[in-house]
Symmetry: C2
Subunit: 314 residues, 2 copies
């Protein structure tokens, strides 16, 4: 008999894997397991195993089953599993079409499949707009309480700016902020002038300068300042790191409309602080709201559970 009190929430991304056993009434995480076996690694293992493509799904689901075992919790046999992230991409368990915007929170309009194993395993698609795609963040969005009108910002390697109008997710845009930072600091001429500081100092003048210059200027030109600061002024490599970081976030936030009423950050830890400071420094005077990204993800699966099983959650 199906256990309708718990779900196993799975976040299977490109480079990380995470399982949580969740009590749906209290939304409490009872036990958690995570490792770095993202879809990318598993897909490589699958390819090197050279098995017939008909066995692909079983290969991935078998790994999932092992990891559920690693949760080491009793009575999991009937608990349904909810999977979001790159698991539904072409390098994952099975490719699902993206759900097309708008995204509704109280209908089940995320494309999904159910694998009938010894338990129900649901996998949910990503979201697409006319010009953009996401896989994973849509689950966090579903887990947020949002206003009639707001801009959600989910910072990261590929930051998402999600537009809510009349209480509906109508559009979103991806910003390659984190990825630009990574490749510039590793693979460009700037690599030699940058070093990660031991801790992030939000009052750092170079971070704040980077924010303001990025917000008003041209990234292709300003990025080179990171080098000239080092060459001309003996600026420390840690300050150059702060400057480039500010520059990229300032460039991203240039796209926040001055008319936006509420900015809703969905993030965690230092990234949440970094973006909060950025909004303040740049004088983006919209109302600011925050949701912890992990809470949002779990709540997203709880909401999907509710939509699927038509059950009211406390």
């Amino acid at each position: 008999m199906l256990d309708k009190k718990k779900i196993i929430s799975c976040d299977w991304g490109t480079s990380s894997f995470r399982l949580r056993l969740v009590d749906v009434d209290t939304r409490t995480v009872l036990v958690e397991f995570k490792d770095s076996e993202g879809i990318s690694v598993i897909n490589k293992n699958w390819l090197s195993a050279q098995r017939p493509s008909t066995e692909r799904k079983a290969f991935f689901l078998n790994i999932l089953k092992e990891k559920i075992g690693a949760l080491n919790a009793p009575d999991l046999a009937q608990v349904p599993v909810f999977i979001s992230g790159m698991a539904s991409s072409s390098i994952g368990i099975e490719a699902l079409e993206y759900t097309q915007t708008p995204l509704f929170t109280n209908e089940l309009n995320l494309v999904h499949v159910c694998f009938q194993d010894e338990r129900d395993i649901y996998m949910f698609s990503g979201l697409r707009s006319e010009t953009d795609v996401m896989r994973g963040e849509e689950t966090m969005i579903l887990g947020c309480d949002f206003e009639e009108e707001e801009l959600m910002i989910l910072p990261g390697t590929h930051s998402k700016h999600v537009e809510v109008k009349n209480g509906v997710i109508i559009d979103f845009k991806t910003f390659m902020t984190g990825e630009f930072f990574n490749i510039l600091s590793k693979h460009s001429i700037l690599a030699d002038t940058i070093a990660k500081p031991e801790s992030i100092n939000l009052d750092n003048e170079f971070y704040q300068r980077g924010l303001k210059e990025g917000y008003h200027g041209n990234l292709l030109n300003l990025a080179f300042n990171t080098r000239t600061y080092g060459v001309l002024n003996n600026t420390s490599k840690e300050n150059c790191y702060h400057y480039l970081s500010g520059l990229l976030i300032g460039t991203e936030l240039k796209s926040v409309s001055p008319d936006v009423k509420c900015v809703h950050l969905i993030s965690e830890g230092s990234l949440l602080e970094i973006y909060t400071e950025a909004l303040k420094v740049l004088g983006i005077s919209a109302e600011a709201k925050f949701t912890d990204a992990n809470v949002a993800f779990v709540n997203g699966h709880v909401r999907l559970f509710k939509n699927l099983y038509k059950r009211e959650i406390a």
Copy 2:
């Protein structure tokens, strides 16, 4: 006796080396030698030789001498050598301070040294502004005929925008356009959706779209379109290459002031065509002028020769 009819012009960059024997009266290149032994490679060889630092200059000059031998031309013993580029940097023959803007064309205000070998070997510094640096391009600038007021654009890995006011080089800015393209197409998530086309088609609709979107939009967001075009619309990898190329050039040219009277491109081959088309597509209606980058470089050394030896050139 010093030969005052010829110079050996040396362009010693980070990743390339080039020598030209030049007739100063006609500015004709009589013979040329080039290879890929840029300063970076020679510096690595020097470091692995583990010799005392007092021998550094001799090590580099000895390589220069061998390459002059490779020119295989008669009567070179008294011909002076003019060196520009990264040879004057900290990884080169000897680090010279950057010359501070403004740069004057008819005075010898580029910092330089003369090594007395069996011949005169002159090495010239780069140029710096308050916030930016160049090494090598300043020689091309000196080799151009420019207006009282114009914007010089030297496209490349690190494009330079050089501002001429009242006939004087007063300021410049570096844009990491070519380097962004290289690292995005090699090291980012876009790598899988990009392939270099066999030939550049300037009428390509994706190139033109990239130009316009880059000129008006936010690079951190638009770059991700390169991926979604492939994922959502099956756009060919060659068209994605064109789009990203347009996007970066459009972003760079956003910094061209609408008030500029004359845009002067100093470039060669396909890059010259690509930027000429970009100015047209973006409706930058300034007068357009062109100088071949190789001609500019040689003429720059001829001008420095004239300034040094106070000789009028025909």
